[in-house]
């Protein structure tokens, strides 16, 4: 354990001893982030004792996530592991433990304690015993296949049923096969056969992620392959704890990132240092030709790391550079160095100067229109990392130390950028942000914003959400924080329900301009309610703020409501930690408060008698195809 981890453990203990863990829960989470191994376990035990209700009362802005825990065997040790991971991510876990070994009933019966708690996540933790409990003795691989067909069939039906009727996300996992089963077969042919049977079992589990939109399957095999022990025979036999504490901790780490994602907190941008991070040597001293990348022991390792970074960038993670260097030299290195995997075009922004990095990170956030807490910062300098940690507690900081061959492992240790699925919009994200940078320099040439907007030639297309587009609309609700009028997150399945509901009117908003296509930029989730049209949520990507796209859409919706006989349109705003800037969205657009405000939720009403003219600089294509 390094000094900072020791320090963090000591401070956490102080917080606990002085009874301030709840009052300082976010800070405690920051300390947990530094811990590993036994210290992390201990922190989890401390945090698991806190009352989630009290944490929420002390920190109402922190999202609470209800987590049901069921599965095969003793899973109670998972609860502290989850407590540690959730605290680390600034989330409040509300665990719903269940009785031992009842997962089929827990999942199937809508009246079960588990289902009645309406968990956001249901963890159904599986281990090889799920199948081997049903295998007779003596056995052959064929007996395992028969037992597996029966048990996995049950799990498949549970998943399908959950997908149809449940809310939230069901988390299953592959079951690493302990050697003690394979070694009971003395001939290699049978061992190979059991290996095939077992891989089929895990393949069937993994396939559930394809067939059931609300199911996530965590693959534990790669974790086991990294040397995390799957099972301790003594605890498995004597205490029915079939997975080790280590494996449950690794599992909880994955679940922590999943919870981050469903609460809209997945990271969006990877901010990288250069010298010692993307290449070896010091650019200012060694020159473009002298830095280590591509050739030599260290150069090969840095190239390997660049390839991993590029791979992330291709899946929608924005890449940026913040480096203490001469800008012109960096520019030349990124454009001209023949052995680099990453080039200038891979980054949404390269900031190279001699300013403190935390200032540059603030500037980067502003330029990209993102909150700094959606950043992951990776640097080989402990000094820079500590500074960024101190100045931007919401930024996830990756320690890149020592051998560059370990950089990729350090970066990938946590699933900071995990999402349920990568969409076409994600893949085009870097290009869009770069287009935006071109727009900004185009803007510099205009006397007024109005002139600029007119010249930008914005076109907007509103259309009903289709089944094929549901995943992208779900993503939008998960990623959008600032212009999200209620903060409500929808999974793909929730969006599909809206698509199929005849009273619902889920609309997707696409936009583009002379610099390129923005793709899906917003969504309006409305529904008919008698002679009212209710807007349940309105979302717009921060990439297209300040262009009046939202006014244009709302204006069309008002006219559409009036033309189809609605008496009024109601819109709801629910305050979240990040959506203050749209608190006056409805009043600014001719709505008046409908009744007294109730807590943090306000409903507004538009009587449809006077509808303002639409913004003149936007060409609007609507479902009716009417020119607007």
């Amino acid at each position: 354990m390094d000094v900072s981890a020791q320090d963090a453990a000591a401070r956490l203990r102080e917080l606990a001893e002085s009874g301030r863990l709840i009052a300082e829960y976010p800070r405690a989470g920051g300390l947990v982030d530094r811990l590993a191994g036994p210290e992390l376990d201990r922190a989890g035990r401390l945090l698991a004792r806190l009352d989630p209700g009290e944490i929420t009362r002390a920190h109402p802005a922190l999202p609470a996530v209800t987590v049901g825990v069921t599965g095969h065997g003793t899973l109670a040790p998972l609860i502290p592991a989850l407590a540690a991971q959730f605290a680390r991510h600034g989330l409040v876990p509300r665990p719903v433990p269940t009785d031992f070994g009842n997962y089929v009933f827990d999942l199937l019966d809508p009246g079960s304690e588990l289902r009645r708690a309406h968990p956001d996540l249901i963890l159904c933790v599986l281990d090889a015993g799920v199948v081997f409990d049903e295998v007779p003795v003596p056995w052959r691989p064929g007996d395992v296949r028969r037992a597996a067909d029966e048990r996995i069939g049950v799990i498949e039906r549970l998943a399908a049923r959950f997908d149809e009727t449940g809310a939230g996300t069901l988390v299953l996992n592959t079951m690493p096969l302990p050697r003690r089963y394979i070694a009971q077969l003395v001939d290699h042919r049978s061992r190979a056969e059991l290996g095939v049977v077992w891989r089929d079992v895990n393949t069937r589990l993994l396939r559930l992620a394809e067939t059931c939109a609300s199911v996530v399957v965590l693959d534990l095999d790669p974790i086991a392959a990294e040397g995390v022990r799957v099972t301790d025979d003594r605890l498995s036999v004597h205490a029915k704890m079939h997975l080790t504490g280590e494996m449950l901790t690794a599992y909880a780490t994955e679940v922590g990132h999943l919870a981050r994602q469903i609460t809209g907190r997945a990271k969006k941008c990877l901010v990288l240092d250069l010298d010692g991070t993307l290449w070896g040597g010091v650019l200012g001293d060694d020159g473009v030709e002298g830095i280590e990348v591509g050739d030599g022991r260290r150069g090969e390792a840095f190239l390997g790391f660049q390839r991993v970074v590029k791979q992330l960038g291709d899946q929608g993670v924005l890449l940026a550079v913040v480096s203490k260097n001469e800008a012109a030299l960096v520019d030349r290195a990124l454009r001209e160095h023949p052995r680099m995997a990453l080039g200038e075009q891979d980054f949404v922004q390269v900031i190279a100067n001699w300013q403190p990095k935390h200032d540059n990170i603030a500037r980067l956030a502003e330029n990209l229109g993102l909150a700094a807490d959606s950043f992951v910062f990776a640097d080989d300098s402990a000094f820079e990392r500590e500074l960024v940690r101190r100045e931007h507690p919401g930024v996830a900081v990756v320690d890149l130390d020592g051998d560059p061959a370990l950089h990729a492992r350090s970066l990938l240790r946590d699933g900071w950028f995990d999402v349920r699925e990568v969409t076409a919009d994600d893949r085009a994200r870097t290009r869009r942000y770069r287009d935006e940078a071109a727009r900004m320099s185009f803007l510099d040439g205009f006397a007024s914003t109005q002139d600029y907007l007119r010249e930008l030639d914005i076109h907007v297309r509103i259309e009903p959400v289709t089944e094929a587009g549901a995943a992208r609309v779900s993503q939008l609700t998960l990623r959008t924080n600032q212009f999200n009028l209620t903060g409500r997150r929808l999974q793909t399945r929730d969006v599909l329900e809206l698509v199929r509901d005849v009273t619902a009117l889920p609309l997707a908003v696409h936009a583009g301009d002379r610099f390129g296509d923005h793709g899906l930029v917003g969504a309006v989730l409305a529904r008919r309610d008698g002679d009212l049209l209710r807007i349940d949520n309105f979302l717009l990507s921060c990439r297209v703020f300040s262009r009046s796209i939202e006014e244009s859409c709302l204006n069309w919706l008002l006219r559409h409501a009036r033309d189809t006989g609605a008496a009024a349109v109601l819109g709801t705003y629910r305050a979240t930690a990040k959506n203050k800037r749209v608190a006056d969205f409805y009043p600014r657009n001719g709505f008046v408060p409908a009744g007294p405000p109730g807590g943090d939720t306000v409903t507004f009403r538009h009587g449809l008698t006077r509808i303002a003219p639409p913004p003149a600089h936007i060409r609007l294509q609507t479902p009716e195809g009417e020119p607007a």
Partner: protein
């Protein structure tokens, strides 16, 4: 961990229970805040601390902390 005092301090710290040596002979279930789950954690904690295997069967059946101390120190 050479004395019962050190052992009790370790368990108290690991499990965040306010224990003193006076609790060493108490029935585990009579210790306020005790949970059978704590025994599972103690297996990991004590094996890591002493560097040797502990008899899980005996630990799960241990009536009090003094017996666990004996298991941890004498194997």
């Amino acid at each position: 961990m050479n004395t019962i005092e050190e052992f009790i301090a370790l368990v108290s710290d690991e499990l965040s229970l306010p224990l003193t040596v006076a609790d060493a002979g108490r029935e585990l279930d009579d210790i306020p805040g005790w949970d059978s789950l704590h025994l599972l954690w103690l297996v990991t904690v004590l094996e890591a601390r002493t560097g040797r295997n502990i008899s899980v069967i005996d630990l799960l059946d241990a009536p009090d902390l003094r017996s666990i101390y004996r298991l941890a120190t004498t194997g």
